[in-house]
Symmetry: C2
């Protein structure tokens, strides 16, 4: 099996990406501390054609050398906005018809593999601080909590890995929308 | 929805993890440069009860401060071995009945969501260097190449994110084995 060269992958240019169909998903980063994680979320959002990334609170915004290290240019293709308060982002999203899902371990959280992603639905997926997770006040404003089932010794996954898994799961179920 | 405290998650202790049922998956890191990525793979492998992580070539081994930053102790729970040559790891795995799958974009690669994970199968999943990917010689020794479908401007995902997505997908399909 011959490995393909980058040019054989026929990826789209940034300009084409801007107007290409997206999956109806917005990623909300609620006070994510690490620029490594933020950059990685951009790169994953590029790969799976996420609509937009909302950067909130202490989450750093591009352009920044540390974000670029893991985003590798995906901050140019993927749309983003900054909000000082995560709550303001959620108010706007709900007004625009998005179902708000915090990725958290909470009472009544739904396991990722059981969460019913609906065709025609629009989803905002909220990821929180590396230690504190999503703030309780933001969880309280959410329609659902989605939990990634975990069976080991540690309490959580890296933020960029959690985002990768959840975005992939939503992409699998919504990718018909990008043809 | 009240967020759960860490102690309410009832994660297992390291000793219990050692003897707990695992999914029949070994992760092979073929010359992964970043200790951040290696640590993150350990943390994900802990969450989804991966059998073992095989660290090959230039891939750093624990204990190391830089691995610990992202593994956060998962190098204590998850079994691992070091191989100077990735090929030697693959020879051992094939001898022990593992189907070897390189995660690569190659001619005849199978898209992740289409790959038939079989009950009763044992899988070695090979992830490569951050820039070069899995070496062609290692791809040549593999039974399959699995590709994560990507629809953006960039050519690949971060190694730790790729590993998260692929491990999650195999876990979803094999988790019946851990009851």
């Amino acid at each position: 099996m011959r490995k393909l060269l980058n040019e054989e992958l026929h990826r789209m240019e940034v300009e084409a990406f801007k107007t290409a169909a997206k999956i109806p998903v917005v990623i909300v980063l609620d006070n994510v501390r690490s620029m490594n994680n933020t950059g990685s979320v951009f790169r994953t959002s590029d790969a799976f054609r996420v609509e937009s990334v909302f950067l909130c609170g202490i989450t750093a915004v591009p352009p920044h050398k540390e974000i670029h290290k893991t985003a590798l240019g995906a901050t140019e293709s993927v749309d983003w906005q900054y909000f000082l308060h995560t709550g303001d982002a959620l108010v706007q999203l709900r007004k625009n018809g998005y179902t708000v899902c915090s990725i958290e371990q909470a009472e009544q959280s739904i396991m990722l593999d059981s969460f019913p992603v609906e065709e025609g639905g629009k989803y905002a997926l909220v990821f929180g601080h590396e230690i504190r997770g999503v703030e309780q006040a933001i969880v309280d404003m959410s329609d659902y909590c989605i939990e990634i089932p975990q069976y080991g010794t540690k309490h959580s996954l890296n933020v960029s890995v959690s985002a990768g898994i959840v975005i992939w799961e939503f992409f699998r179920k919504l990718s018909a929308t990008i043809g």
